[in-house]
Symmetry: C2
Subunit: 342 residues, 2 copies
């Protein structure tokens, strides 16, 4: 399967996920504006992948003033950072990665190898993300049993991260342990990340997957086909409330009604302890055309639309958070800080 | 707004709802096979409308042997009836309407005006359906308050019935009483009846409507925007279990979780007392292409699909059934037969 993010010879190439699964096309990000555009139009998406792309984006932006760091100006770098930060509001990894890159910039400002240090930091964020995914996969796989049907929503896979995946990383780890897992993928309207990306990723790995429309999940649960739900997260806050792709909250309510555990897999970079509860998470609203159709296929009557890109699942509905630090159980307000310290 | 079903000069014209809202095209049903095809491919859809179309379809099929009823053969008519009955399995109105037409045929077999009697019976089914919708609208409107936001799933409107609508009929009646109602329409994947038909119908009537993807309903409820859910039904059985468009059951679970009443509006022709509970209702499964995309827009990865056209909402989740006989409350096993007798 193609990597979502490639960094080679100090050049950034982002897989254009809006074209998947039909076409595999990389966007060569010669400027930070191209990175911003790729994030805004979801060519690269998924909280961890956005963080990695933004980190590389800062390096790309810096190099707009040449590879000689002594000629870089703070004004330009601040604009690059602000442009990248303004692309999408909900996923916290974007701000987390930019903050981390900015610290590197400040610590090594004026040093001759600043470009190398900055690029190395972005690569570290990228590699650490993959490592975190693998660790959380190991912890999460223990929650799945041989023969389980597992429902997931949107795409929290290799394509949404540095690689391997959060929710799909847990499933991959379980499969690597020899467990037979059958995945049910919600198509995830409006942008169909489940139908286009999750189905594509799992088929590429020969993991059995059945695609359903979002409205079919309840029936599937009632038939007893779903033993666990696993999703990713764009931002998880201090009390354990989870922002994730629109539709996630409804799946969590359905899981509770049917007595099915609802797990969220996320790297700790996705946790925002500065917010007390999910009501404080900014929720992006996107263009009505996304709901009135899909790309050039516009099928709806011309009426007003509500198009929030994310929703918030309250912590009461979350059975456990699966992180690279281990599986965190309620009470989250106590156990999240404890896990992050540990 | 164009009528879904037109019968003029003993000729049947069905609005091709697969082309809405972009094009208004009628299919001239010269043979009963054309009617069967229209039902199968959802050019005409919605349990009451399917019943009306099938009734006219039997007249069309009879006239394949000419307008002189003395030349009609039972063999041919039985084949027409069987062809129409085989089109779709879930909506009971199809079988109910064909049964009623068949009785007319048997009672008047050999009479000179058999064609007129048969056509009159189909027209009666059509007109009675509209009258039932208006009566249930009156009963149901009392359940809605001025200023309410009302969520509906799929299209249970004029297009799904002889005219006026079941769920949308209740909303129309409330609006006619001067109540301000804001409708939230689930787009209803995979065939998008909410986005294409409900939005179109309500906009044509100047009833405020906001279109959402199916996965957004939960968030809308959590925000307090939804005061009631009203849907239609393809078949409701003796214990009050309701078969309706896939996705309905999930909406019912969400409504219960948020303390929102969940109403089903249906003519008594949709009630099937021969089945004890919803597990006995045959659920149609349709082609995977419907889930992998929409029409020529095929976006999904090539993986297996589950595509049930309907689901069953257990009676425990149904706050009331709104019928032309009045509003039926639990216990349904007692109150449905009582209402039908009364």
């Amino acid at each position: 399967m193609p990597d979502a993010i490639r960094w080679e010879n100090n050049q950034l190439h982002l897989l254009d996920q809006t074209l998947l699964p039909r076409e595999v096309v990389y966007v060569h990000c010669r400027t930070h504006e191209i990175v911003c555009d790729a994030i805004r139009r979801l060519a690269v998406r998924g909280a961890p992948a956005i963080g990695v792309a933004a980190a590389y984006g800062l390096v790309v932006g810096a190099m707009e003033q040449g590879t000689d760091a002594s000629r870089w100006t703070r004004e330009h770098l601040e604009r690059v950072r602000a442009d990248l930060a303004a692309t999408r509001p909900t996923a916290v990894n974007l701000f987390w990665a930019l903050e981390r890159m900015w610290k590197t910039l400040e610590w090594h400002w004026g040093e001759r190898d600043l470009l190398e240090r900055l690029a190395a930091e972005a690569c570290a964020i990228h590699e650490e993300d993959i490592a975190m995914n693998r660790r959380m996969g190991g912890f999460g796989a223990a929650l799945l049993n041989d023969g389980d049907g597992v429902l997931t929503h949107c795409n929290a896979g290799a394509l949404a991260t540095g690689g391997y995946g959060t929710a799909l990383g847990v499933i991959r780890a379980a499969v690597e342990q020899g467990k037979r897992i059958h995945v049910y993928a919600d198509e995830t309207r409006p942008l169909l990340q489940g139908a286009r990306l999750t189905a594509y990723e799992l088929a590429a790995d020969n993991i059995p997957v059945t695609l359903i429309c979002d409205g079919m999940a309840a029936s599937l649960m009632r038939r007893g086909e779903v033993k666990a739900v696993i999703v990713g997260s764009d931002r998880t806050v201090a009390n354990g409330d989870v922002a994730n792709k629109i539709g996630t909250y409804g799946v969590a309510v359905l899981a509770k009604h049917h007595g099915i555990p609802f797990y969220v897999a996320l790297p700790s970079s996705t946790i925002d302890l500065s917010l007390k509860n999910g009501d404080q998470i900014p929720i992006e609203e996107r263009r009505p055309e996304e709901v009135r159709g899909y790309k050039d296929c516009q099928w709806a009557a011309d009426v007003p639309v509500w198009n929030p890109a994310f929703d918030v699942t309250p912590h009461e509905l979350v059975s456990a958070l699966i992180t690279e630090k281990g599986v965190i159980r309620p009470p989250y307000d106590v156990n999240i800080p404890r896990a992050l310290r540990g």
